[in-house]
Amino acid sequence: MEETFVKDSAVRKPKKNKKITWAVLKEQRQLIYMSVPLMAYIILFAYVPIWGWTMAFQDYKPARDFSEQKWVGFKHFEFLFKDDSFLQVLRNTLAMSVINMILGFTTAIILALLLNEIKKVFWKRTVQTISYLPHFLSWIIVTGIVATSLASDGIINDVLMKLHLIKEPIQWLSEGKYFWGIVGASHVWKEVGWNTIIYLAAMASIDPALYEAADMDGASRYRKMFHVTLPGIKPTIIILLIMQVGHILEAGFEVQYLLGNGLVVDWSQTIDIFVLKYGLAQGNYSLATAAGIFKTVVSVTLLLIANGVAKRLGEERLL
């Protein structure tokens, strides 16, 4: 998503550098009518709420006017970093994010490599179409399916029992130690097919001459996969990986919120759930806003760094 910014800011020299005069404004009035109201709209919905960040530095009470609020400086931020439950939430967020990232990348790359080896176009397209299906389902539906499959009489326990791998059904969703893995697996189930699109496109643009040369040298199929295909998509993998680092605090909200329950809260709650719980449910707006600001500031910093790195690499490797 972000590399578009890299490209955009990189090289786009306007042909004519017009000065803003009344004549120009009049000439371009239709462009102005078409875009300035939309700019006002985005400022209202994306920028104005930043004013709300002041709440994190106050003991905010909805009943009071802005001038009557009590300012408390960094009190809420200090509280957050001494609060065990926030640190736990931070740990959960980072852990699930890293697990999702590792599982997501490896499974999508492996699936793309295997799909790329299918030579029958119809069969390949069919598998691809089916593998995209879960991407279009909502998390509500996906977590419903996950919960049904993992229930004590669900298909997973069924299969494991029939294979005699376990004697008693496992209560998957009631034990914290399974939760991170279940979230990771749910993400893989939902997105693995979709995530192959980008790798398959990269593979399609590898020069066929490379494969022919490898054939001349008598390279086996595995060697071609590892020495032609994989290096061919390496730039794509690296860029996506760097970008993903910028999203390290985005472990998701929906899946943890929907699959979590009282028995696994110590493992399931993420920063977003913390904000929801303290903010809207308990009315502690200041603390929740402080947690939200922390997340945004860290994310933006990481994203900018990632963008910078990707841009540097992009110039060397991609162009």
């Binding site: 709440m55 176009v121 990269a202």
Partner: protein
Amino acid sequence: MANQTISPGPATAAAAPKSVRKKRVEPILFNTFNTLFMIGLVVVTLYPFLNTIVVSLNAGNDTIRGGIYLWPREFTWQNYKAVFASGTIYDAFWISVARTVLSTLLNLVLTTMLAYTLSRREYVFRKPITLIFILTMYFNAGLIPGYFLMKDLHLLNSFWVYVIPSMISAFNMIVIRTYIGTIPESLVESARIDGAGDFKIFIRIIFPLCKPVLATIALFVAVGAWNSWFDAFIYTSSRQELSTLQYELMKLLSSSMNANSNPAVAAGAGMTQDAAVNMVTPISIRAAVTVVASVPILLVYPFMQKYFVVGLNVGSVKE
């Protein structure tokens, strides 16, 4: 989501090496493994969904006995009748349809209009407006400030909170703008010589020519609108008549999850109004709602596949 490569299309990948392959035995082994793997993938992807459809078509009191896999034991339409007889779900279905249609139309027209103005090199406000939109991809004021904004704008407990806050996405704007960049400038210039203003050029020339990329964007926006539940959860939950289908499904899911841990709640929760029809159980109702909530999208996306694969690549074309 984003993509670096310009691909000539996935189909060319398959055409690479054919000559040397026959001599080897290992391809047979590999192909067997690969085929089995793909069959496994298809089964794992489709089974939970097919099972849900079967459960939704099986008599509820029979499903509880277990052992329903891929074929209904006691076929019935009763679950669907109960779903649509229940006013809440029927209303929610139409609210979901309305928000999806409205969001999609508004997004397409407004985002394309903005993208057109920002594609005009001579436009004096091109750079600042572009920057204002692109920055919104990096940060977000957060849940609590956003909530207060909706409150101040009197959008709480209003249908419009589903539509108005998400009328334009910066990412989609860039995808469309990139696509507009591929339209020959001579078309715009000749229209201008004929006396057409920017608005007319947008409506008559640019918008119709953007169809392929708009098909992709329409799919993404529609899927997002149809699948979202969080806005109904936090902004409109005190007005039942504004509930959406996904949110109703979420309520059914969470009541049944509570039911797992506490049987006393189970008796009270769920579809009390359907208790008269004792063939229907919370599990079968949930399955039927899941099918109703996912089928509209699943009917559409396979036909959009050629567009979204192209669309994803267009978003990444370098300039």
